[in-house]
Symmetry: C2
Subunit: 141 residues, 2 copies
């Protein structure tokens, strides 16, 4: 007979922490599992896969609501995948934007650190650049 999967075991296998699993159940992202006699949750393999799916999507920066939609799609494999495609595309655009602004920021931070000649704060470029946005190398953020 199969050993039942406890919440701790589910956490280990899926990479989602125990309180987070309970939280996902609470917000309806994961169905409430069956309980043992002692009122403990026990999970099936499908639950583990669902949790891994959620974890992966969270790591990719998808919001819970987007994940909810993706999970609905997954549950009904005959739907056209345009919705999923759209969600992933929107996220891609976001990520590209974020990379651009982080690159601008990196240039600026390098300028700051480089400009700091370890003197007094009065001549420190970190403070100076932060105080005056006009001194930014890339002022478009």
């Amino acid at each position: 007979m199969l050993k039942e999967i406890s919440i701790g075991e589910a956490a280990k296998r899926s990479g989602v922490k125990v309180p987070t699993i309970r939280y996902y159940e609470q917000i309806g992202l994961l169905a409430a599992p069956a309980r043992t006699d002692g009122n403990r949750r026990h999970y099936e393999d499908t639950d583990i896969r669902r949790l891994a799916f959620i974890r992966h999507a969270r790591e990719l920066g998808f919001e819970i609501d987007a994940i909810r939609t993706l999970l609905h799609l997954q549950d009904d494999p005959n739907q056209p995948c345009e919705t999923a495609d759209g969600i992933a595309n929107a996220r891609l655009v976001e990520v590209e934007q974020r990379i651009r602004s982080l690159n601008a920021l990196k240039a600026e931070l390098e300028l700051m650190v480089e400009g700091c000649r370890h003197g007094k704060v009065g001549e420190c470029r970190v403070i100076e650049i932060l105080a005056d946005h006009g001194k930014c190398a890339h002022p478009h953020h």
Copy 2:
């Protein structure tokens, strides 16, 4: 005589929203300004600069606590700027790390979107990749 700067005007000039300015006052990031007869806040140019400083630092991803430290440094320009330099440097390392992981993520999202042939969800790569981490292009996240 100078026109007094209202909170709304301060918001416009600094780029920090009105409720956020009040919030910054509440958490002690910005000193409580003088009030008019009618109990309205009015600001000085130094306050506007401080707000712009905060806004800029927030955009650069500095946390409020780091900003608080930077502001203390700014208030006392005879301190060595190593502390400010250290904060900026730590932030630079973070930003570089974040750019790297976002690039990995971008690759993965592109793979997903590209792989989606606008068919049914059953064969959708977006769903598939999310469900199985092993399919990632860059599995190191």
